[in-house]
């Protein structure tokens, strides 16, 4: 691809105190792509996600979004640039209703878009429409994940960051969520950066993938290429495919 990437992470190093979590990570996400980052527990996947969002900020390296350096911007400003995140562990507002969750998701956008956006996320996740007046905390895990994604979508993002959307969900629900992601990408042209442990599903969905080990990118390629690699099969897929 010749065009400039929508998101370019270059040589990023992030520390928690003295502990280095990211050791010079570089990756690129182009407009209209689904890119996945896979890796084992503690590899630094979520740290990279959080670093892109500015909490914690990268100590070295650069993160460029849409041509602008966002490395040192505070989180709330980054999230106002058209990046939205569905955080790890979903983090929905448990005591507030589904509608209120979606309202807060739309905080950074023009209220005039609210009804239109609401219809769109309800079309994507009809279950949420049924449960709109229910409290977030009373939803099932899968519904909560849908709400977390819907909430992020209410910010009308150009780039959607998804941190382990399959975490703790039943295979059927995972398939539902992943097909929703695919639909968003194909029909609305949304760019998606997906962090996953569920390598099998993630690589089949993604156009391209990166593999992270101990805070470093060790492999990259198209989803299908990576799926076929024996070391990937051995490390992430054997016995884990469903």
């Amino acid at each position: 691809m010749s065009a400039a990437p929508l998101l370019a992470v270059s040589e990023v190093e992030t520390f928690y105190g003295k502990i280095q979590a990211l050791r010079g990570v570089s990756l690129e996400v182009f407009d209209g792509e689904i890119v996945t980052l896979i890796g084992a527990n503690g590899a630094g996947k979520s740290t990279l996600m959080m670093t892109i969002c500015g909490t914690p900020q990268a100590r070295n390296g650069q993160i460029v979004y849409n041509g602008a350096d966002i490395t040192r911007l505070p989180t709330h400003q980054i999230m106002q640039l058209g990046i939205a995140q569905s955080p790890e562990g979903r983090r929905i507002f448990g005591r507030m209703t589904v509608m209120e969750n979606l309202r807060i998701g739309a905080s950074v956008t023009d209220p005039a878009y609210f009804d239109e956006d609401l219809e769109r996320v309800f079309a994507l996740f009809p279950l949420l429409k049924e449960r709109q007046n229910q409290r977030g905390g009373t939803l099932s895990g899968g519904e909560q994940q849908m709400l977390a994604i819907a909430r992020a979508l209410m910010a009308r993002p150009r780039l959607l960051l998804l941190d382990e959307p399959s975490l703790g969900l039943a295979p059927l629900v995972i398939r539902q969520i992943f097909s929703a992601i695919q639909e968003l990408n194909e029909q609305q042209g949304l760019t998606v950066f997906l962090v996953e442990q569920n390598a099998h599903h993630a690589l089949r969905l993604a156009h391209r993938g990166y593999v992270m080990v101990n805070g470093k990118i060790t492999m990259s390629g198209t989803g299908i290429e990576l799926l076929a690699r024996p070391e990937i099969r051995a490390a992430y897929l054997e016995g884990g495919a469903h």
Partner: protein, 442 residues
């Protein structure tokens, strides 16, 4: 064999338990009740009071025995899901209660409006009502910080003090009227709210509570020691009373309130006016809070309470969200403080101790965090309760503590723990906390 043995072991266990209870009670009360110190020339003398000790231990053991025989007799599982009341009756009650609840608000408001003119209302009741309303207002103000934004503030009384001293000092030095000083007191208090807010931006929970506690004490100690400015422990006296919206005062004689409006002079006029003043201020607090909850800023406060990281990931600037919560809560405390100063006519740092903060916080927590109606009930119960038990002053705190423990056992989320959603598509549905906690919130 086993069947014969089972009741025996149960009996033995019970007896062992009772003996243990007796020993523990003896150890505790033997020292606390059984030994009395009397002052004699040259020191203290110990007087044993064995009869009293034995009585208390007997009561404790008997109580434990009753628990064994009646309460713990019930087998686990049996009666767990069933109640003494048939389900249909219970549902009927719930229905009636919901209806009553809907009527309660307007009924209470009407009662509050006509209360000063009812035949049984006297000076004492009016004074007590003013006190309760002050705490309701403080409770509603603190509810913004604690209940909505989820920031545990143990030094709320500091802003109350700032409001009170603002009015007292502005009135004393510049001779400004109450109506001018009231907004100023609110502004100054919210300014201090922001000052407190900045250093605690990164703190949550316990750490935040400690810093706010310290802040409350700092304000009090500064007021105590800054003698030439605040009068120190002597306080400030001769604080002007409020007049009737700047038109007339409430003094006796020509030109006074009674004279101007052709009424017979009564010292109650000013009290009734003060009553309506604090009622209006409290209702203003409530109204503003309810409006704010429906606005993005109010939703942001609640979202902050639920999950700060999620808030930031959605593009909310948590700094402004927190500071606005502190400032708004402090502003209402400032109003209440100015009112307190004008009502008392005298203020000193003694009125702004940690106990006050704790009391207001207790009102918010007991009422159910975030619930406006709960604050009213808790304030009436606590402040009114204090007055009812005034004659048993020595047992007051004991009963207060016991009530708190019991409420926290039975209603751990406060008296009114339901939360009204702020936006709806279609019909408005109420969400009962009881339903929600069992995972069927609809």
């Amino acid at each position: 064999m086993m069947q014969h043995k089972a009741p025996q072991t149960a009996l033995r266990r019970m007896v062992t338990d009772l003996v243990t209870t007796a020993v523990i009670a003896l150890v505790i009360f033997g020292v606390m009740v059984g030994l009395k110190t009397d002052t004699i020339p040259g020191g203290l003398e110990l007087t044993p009071r064995w009869l009293a000790t034995i009585e208390i231990v007997a009561v404790v053991v008997l109580g434990r025995l009753m628990l064994h025989l009646i309460w713990w007799r019930r087998k686990p599982g049996v009666g767990a899901g069933t109640t003494w009341v048939p389900a249909r009756v219970l549902r009927g009650w719930a229905h009636t209660l919901v209806h009553l609840g809907k009527l309660a608000r307007p009924a209470l408001l009407v009662f509050a409006l006509v209360m000063p003119f009812l035949p049984f209302t006297d000076r004492y009741l009016l004074d007590l009502s003013i006190l309760v309303l002050t705490y309701i207002m403080l409770g509603w103000g603190l509810n913004i910080v604690v209940g909505l934004a989820g920031l545990l503030d143990l030094g709320y009384v500091a802003f109350y003090a700032v409001g009170a001293y603002s009015y007292a000092l502005l009135a004393a030095h510049f001779g400004w009227s109450f109506w001018l000083c009231l907004p100023l007191a609110g502004i100054l208090a919210s300014f201090w709210g922001i000052i407190l807010g900045f250093p605690v931006l990164r703190l949550r929970g316990d750490y935040l509570a400690i810093v706010t506690l310290a802040f409350g004490e700092i304000i009090r100690i500064v007021l105590l020691n800054w003698y030439w400015f605040t009068g120190g422990p002597d306080g400030l006296s001769g604080i002007p009373r409020p007049d009737f919206f700047g038109i007339v005062g409430f003094e006796r004689g020509p030109g006074g309130f009674a004279d101007t409006f052709g009424l017979e002079y009564s010292s109650l006029h000013r009290i009734i006016f003060l009553y309506f003043l604090i009622l209006a201020l409290a209702l203003l607090t409530n109204f503003v809070t309810m409006r704010l909850r429906r606005l993005p800023i109010g939703r942001a406060w609640e979202a902050l309470r639920e999950d700060e990281i999620a808030c930031r990931s959605l593009g909310l600037n948590t700094t402004t969200v927190k500071l606005s919560a502190f400032a708004t809560g402090a502003m209402f405390a400032g109003f209440a403080g100015a009112f307190f100063a004008t009502r008392q006519g005298f203020i000193s740092p003694e009125s702004f101790t940690f106990t006050e903060s704790a009391l207001v916080l207790a009102i918010v927590v007991l009422g159910g965090m975030g619930s406006q109606m709960g604050v009213v009930i808790a304030a009436v119960a606590l402040i009114g309760g204090f007055e009812v038990f005034r004659e048993f002053a020595q047992y007051r705190m004991l009963i207060f503590g016991l009530a708190m423990v019991l409420i926290m056992i039975w209603k751990p989320r406060g008296l009114i723990s339901g939360r009204e959603p702020t936006i709806f598509l279609g019909a408005r549905k109420s969400i009962s906390a009881d339903l929600v906690s069992q995972g069927e919130g609809h």
